[in-house]
């Protein structure tokens, strides 16, 4: 049987690219769902920290709440303000979400899962493309033709541009240690050195943490959408599906920055102590942890007031056990050993990302919000100088190690201490400055967008 040439071309195309296509479809289909459940988890955690229950009505323990929310948002009326720029109003949320999702494409969730082939500039691709979401925010704020929106958009632009600089410089620190931009190679470098980069450059990790919270517009840096001041900032005029696109973009972005931090600083998909063989029993942790969750579900099942919830808890527990078995099988069956790195890698990776996102949420529930000029000062007077010093310090440490044969840990420790000293100096300077600029008269002379 001979195929027509065009069909044959399509077949070769599919043969070459099927992994990418499948992963792309999966990302587009699954990320909104995951984002929805991240929202649920956030609400539940917030409720837990605030002495209340959170969503409980839709499904057992509110587990179907994201789906109900999505349905509600989908069927809401599509409002466009009269004087809005219709085209851009329509385009802006799409830009935001597409940017976040596209940047996910280059993230490697495990040694084998990745959409874009391991391109040369992987980590830059993730950062660059996710920063395009900024365009969606500015354009949305502009197109709404509302004061609150435009102030939110201007704030957001200034904030994101400033903190992207800090985040970029922090990343440079880890990239210097890795010596490559490829995502897989970065993780491999951490395996070869036998240490996560967070331990070699804690300052860079800290800067990236702060900057990434600011980049995702999360509290305490959520000024662009500060509800008590600007109603909802750039999203004020948005409703229904368009609004949910922004929302999805924001949560997808959280996953992206979490993944970047995990890849660069937390050892990506490596388990703790990947090279230490007497700790190989750590490989048993993923199935054990999942099984423990299942046991906890059974324990809780007895305390549920309604029968359906008891059944539900049992179902969850059994699912957990099944997953745990899947994770455990490759440990014992030699012929299946080849899927071990991928499977467990994804587990560790997602665990680290979840931890990172949990930190975000925790901060959100605890801290009040910065004021705009304080935010800019923090970015420009503390984080960016600190990041620059940190890059220099890492360079010095690497030279000390390679040229003068110093112990790596000693060099890293020394330079980190040096950077921390600079940080203390900067904070001190900042405090003095704020003390000096206390009265409203001098404050009026300062420009909030300075820098």
């Amino acid at each position: 049987m001979t195929l027509p040439p065009s069909l044959e071309a399509i077949l070769t195309f599919l043969q070459n690219w099927w992994v990418e296509i499948v992963c792309g479809v999966v990302i587009v289909a699954v990320v909104p769902l995951i984002a929805g459940y991240v929202v649920l988890v956030e609400r539940k955690l917030m409720a837990d920290m605030q002495a209340r229950l959170g969503p409980m009505r839709v499904g057992p323990h509110g587990l179907l709440q994201p789906i109900a929310d999505a349905l509600k948002l989908l069927i809401k009326e599509d409002l466009i303000p009269d004087n809005a720029d219709k085209l851009i109003f329509w385009l802006a949320p799409v830009i935001s979400m597409v940017a976040a999702m596209t940047s996910m494409g280059a993230i490697a969730f495990g040694p084998t899962f990745q959409v874009a082939r391991d391109i040369n500039v992987g980590i830059l691709f993730v950062i660059g493309v996710s920063s395009l979401g900024l365009l969606g925010i500015i354009l949305g704020g502009w197109a709404s033709n509302s004061h609150y929106s435009i102030i939110g958009a201007i704030r957001s632009t200034a904030q994101l541009v400033s903190y992207e600089t800090a985040a970029g410089l922090a990343i440079v620190g880890a990239l210097l240690l890795a010596g490559t931009l490829r995502i897989r190679a970065i993780v491999d470098a951490q395996q070869q050195l036998g240490v996560w980069f967070i331990f070699l450059t804690p300052v860079a990790f800290f800067i990236y943490l702060v900057a990434s919270i600011a980049e995702t517009n999360r509290a305490p840096f959520d000024l662009p959408e500060a509800e008590s001041e600007l109603v909802a900032g750039y999203m004020t005029e948005y409703s229904g599906f368009r609004w949910s696109l922004y929302f999805l973009g924001e949560y997808a972005n959280m996953i992206v920055v979490g993944s970047v931090a995990t890849t660069l600083f937390l050892g990506g998909w490596l388990r703790p102590f990947p090279n230490v063989h007497w700790l190989d029993w750590l490989d048993f942790l993923p199935p054990l942890i999942i099984a423990a969750v299942g046991v906890y579900c059974i324990y809780r099942a007895g305390k549920q007031p309604v029968e359906i919830q008891i059944w539900f808890m049992w179902a969850v527990a059994l699912t957990c056990f099944a997953v745990a078995v899947i994770f455990a099988v490759p440990l014992f069956v030699t012929s299946l050993k080849f899927i071990l790195p991928g499977l467990h890698g994804a587990f560790w990776f997602l665990l680290k990302v979840s931890g990172y996102i949990y930190l975000f949420m925790w901060l959100r529930f605890t801290l009040p919000r910065y004021r705009f000029d304080q935010l800019m000062h923090l970015g420009w007077y503390i984080l960016i100088p600190l990041a620059i010093v940190n890059v220099l310090a890492i360079g010095v440490a690497m030279i000390l190690e390679s040229e003068f044969g110093w112990n790596r840990w000693f060099a890293a420790l020394l330079t980190s201490l040096f950077t921390l000293g600079i940080a203390a100096f900067l904070v001190n300077l900042y405090d003095k400055r704020t003390a000096a600029a206390s009265s409203p008269a001098t404050a009026a002379a300062r420009n909030p967008y300075a820098g």
Partner: protein, 174 residues
Amino acid sequence: MLDSITFYFFAGVAVLSAALMVTRRNAVHSAVLLVTTLLATAGIFLQLRAEFIFITQIILYVGGIMVLFIFVIMLVRLDVALQHMRFRLQRWVALFVALALGVEITVVFLFARRLPGQGLLIQEPAPADKLPPNTEELARSLFSSYLLPFEIASVLLLVAMVGAVVMAKKRIDQ
């Protein structure tokens, strides 16, 4: 095959949105269309296997310069000051200049093809798989042969930064 499809797609998008960009009256629309053009050009760079330039284009041009543009457009609130083009004559002049330039360069291209020993313009680029890793290559070149221009560029950026701050700074004494 795939190469041509990508090329024609990105080229088409780039030219179309560029043409729309210079004709839109609304400056924000122009900016959005320019962003589209720049992204399409970035696609061309990727198709040329210049990954580093591709990502620089996205981060610097789209994420940096264009955001700055839109920021300024919003600050000076052009939406209030939308006006027609005043000089119809200028449009014809522009078209004439463009046509003249276009014809001239096209003719040069066509003649260059016919000249002996000028096979350059129809030469196939080297196969993609055999290319050395782009970023490393670029870095090596940038920090060895082009170190001085690199430093000069950084000085240029510094000067530009200082200049922009001085220019845009609000005078407090007013």
